[in-house]
Symmetry: C2
Subunit: 348 residues, 2 copies
DNA sequence: TGTCTTTTAGAAACCGATTGAAGCCTCGAA
DNA sequence: TTCGAGGCTTCAATCGGTTTCTAAAAGACA
């Protein structure tokens, strides 16, 4: 591999001079020597070692992104946002699929620290787990000492810049919309209990019902895990219910779609027999039949702004305690409608 | 940041000894000193610099993956396969969204080379472009000199280990299946012309027709670009045709789904009025209505085997000229059926 | 001509590891 | 007593850059 030494030798200048020309230093170099260095670099096909540079300057221009699963459109869109912005700023992105397993996240974080990444972005909601949090705070302390940035795109229980959507509000608007349509028996498919996102969204559901003075029915709160299959299972549970709801709100689109497909297979007409609604507005949502009513979250933007915040945090233009809130929007499609008979779900 | 020097000092041993126990060298170290080093590393919260290590050993344990777009389920699945296997082998994965723009790919490759990645994986088909190829071969020559591996998951026109599916065969089986159903007027939505994958698939279509002695109708070959929107447009073109086909084969699922949705909007019943079929079997394919008949490609496996090959290539267990062929499988769902009236599409 | 700036060049330290070669004990054999 | 062999340790070179600090050359001015 050709090094800066070879370039310097060929150009007949010192290593220092070669470095200054090649790295765009502000230190003055005569035009004549500058040209010689550039010429030498070109003929030798010189490629400066980013590793060596990182060792001395202290920053790698690499960031890590911890996601649940790249095949989940939710995370895929976030990644794209992160990477697009990272590229424009000269950063490279390492993607880490943790499947939301605490031990996996911690292992990744240690490895990323070994590589001295300039920062880490946590996509998706935070894990609620004592041991995890303790370990997390310890490793993040090391990051902080290194002045590596920590950004999370969702509520996390450790210190980090947060780029958020108002999850409680998101669900409340969804429930408001369904109630506005005339529904009062609304099933809810929740996310996994140990995720902040799931907890917030469930709270939103409960608060919205309370605000409308609708009594909570524990039977209508179904446990899910944000996967398509969970939605399918929920459909079967709903089908087996004595008093069926007139609408189902899933806490993410993947489950909503699973539920929609499951209900259709069981003979329900959507939205005539039952309305189905999701959250997120992933790309698939518009392709299913009927197209899914949902709340659009700024997934791509979340990634982009997250990456932007990471850089600002590094340059001292933001504080670790800063929080950004991004807007969401209700998207009405065809999977929701007025209930066939008013209150049909409540009165047996 | 605490370095190995600090650990050595605290353990009261030389740096060399500290390095030997910390890096798992085979060089003998007495149990007593070994224990002291381990203890010191733990109390200091020592995190070995992977950068420094990479500088001296020459390998970074980082690989780059060049994809079109992370939000395309096709690439997302491949990435997941790559990353899952990479992790088990101690590699980190840098994801590069090139949108298949030649200049973007080249830029990424240069950057990845600056970081001295151990190898690069090209996901998806190769670009057909003279200038691109020339530049590509030049930069890949540098990779080769560094003994960095180059693997492509699809046919590329530069030297690399290839992990492939038989694209021609895939399409032929799809066409065979449609013809077996009784179709003889089959529209085809192609991919972008400058992609090997698109070219191969189109050839497969033409060869299959020829084999069945069906005359090619240029009107039925529609230009697409592998996006959902291209499928929508194709639906409108088909609708405007005087002699309508009885089946549409899209060269990927995204376009098939676009076409399916588009045709439904135009009032066609699928599959009664017209059969629609895709290629890839991305996850969405089973959620659309009707579920899409397609050919399942081993996307995850492609990524996994690709990463595996990269490592084998590095260790001399494979040659750059090696090619692996992975199996595909026809998946019949509900979007295809016998044509309503035999030969309706051919006789006006 | 001598002195004082201003430019520009280069020598050398440093980032944090790995590793080949050399050195030091200790023990057993001659 | 001397020598050789093994087992551990350590020294120091190395990877490929950046940057501080010193110094030389050139120009300005009296």
């Amino acid at each position: 591999m050709v090094s800066i030494i070879d370039v310097a030798r060929l150009a007949n200048v010192s290593i220092a001079t070669a470095s200054r020309v090649l790295s765009g230093s502000s230190h003055p170099v005569s035009d004549e020597r500058r040209a010689r260095v550039l010429e030498a670099a070109r003929t030798l096909n010189y490629s400066p070692s980013a590793l060596a540079k990182a060792m001395v300057t202290g920053d790698t221009n690499i960031v890590g992104v911890i996601i649940g699963d790249a095949t989940d459109p939710y995370f895929a869109t976030i990644i794209r946002g992160v990477e697009d912005f990272a590229r424009t700023q000269g950063y490279l992105v390492i993607v880490c699929n943790s499947d939301r397993v605490p031990a996996m996240e911690l292992r990744y974080l240690n490895t990323l620290n070994d590589y001295r990444v300039d920062g880490v972005i946590f996509a998706g909601g935070g894990l609620i787990d004592e041991d995890y949090l303790r370990a997390m705070e310890q490793i993040l302390e090391i990051f902080r000492e290194r002045k590596a940035a920590c950004v999370s795109l969702g509520k996390h229980l450790f210190p980090s810049v947060s780029v958020l959507v108002d999850n409680v509000q998101v669900i409340q608007e969804a429930v408001d919309y369904l109630i506005g349509l005339g529904h009062s028996s609304i099933a809810y498919i929740s996310g996994p209990g140990l995720l902040t996102t799931a907890e917030l969204r469930l709270n939103g559901y409960k608060m919205a019902l309370k605000r409308h003075a609708i009594e909570q029915n524990p039977e209508l709160i179904l446990k899910g895990d944000f996967t398509y299959e969970a939605g399918l299972r929920a459909a079967r549970v709903i089908d087996a219910l004595a008093k069926k709801p007139t609408a189902v709100l899933a806490s993410n689109d993947l489950m909503a779609i699973g539920c929609l497909v499951g209900l259709k297979e069981l003979g329900y007409k959507i939205p005539e027999d039952i309305s189905v609604m999701g959250i997120d507005d992933i790309a698939i949502a518009q392709f299913v039949d009927p197209p899914l009513t949902t709340v659009s979250l700024p997934l791509y933007e979340l990634g982009k702004v997250g990456m932007e915040s990471l850089i600002k945090l590094r340059y001292g233009e933001m504080k670790i305690s800063d929080t950004l809130l991004l807007p969401h929007q209700l998207v009405v499609r065809k999977s929701t409608a007025q209930p066939r008979t008013k209150n049909q779900g409540i009165e047996p």
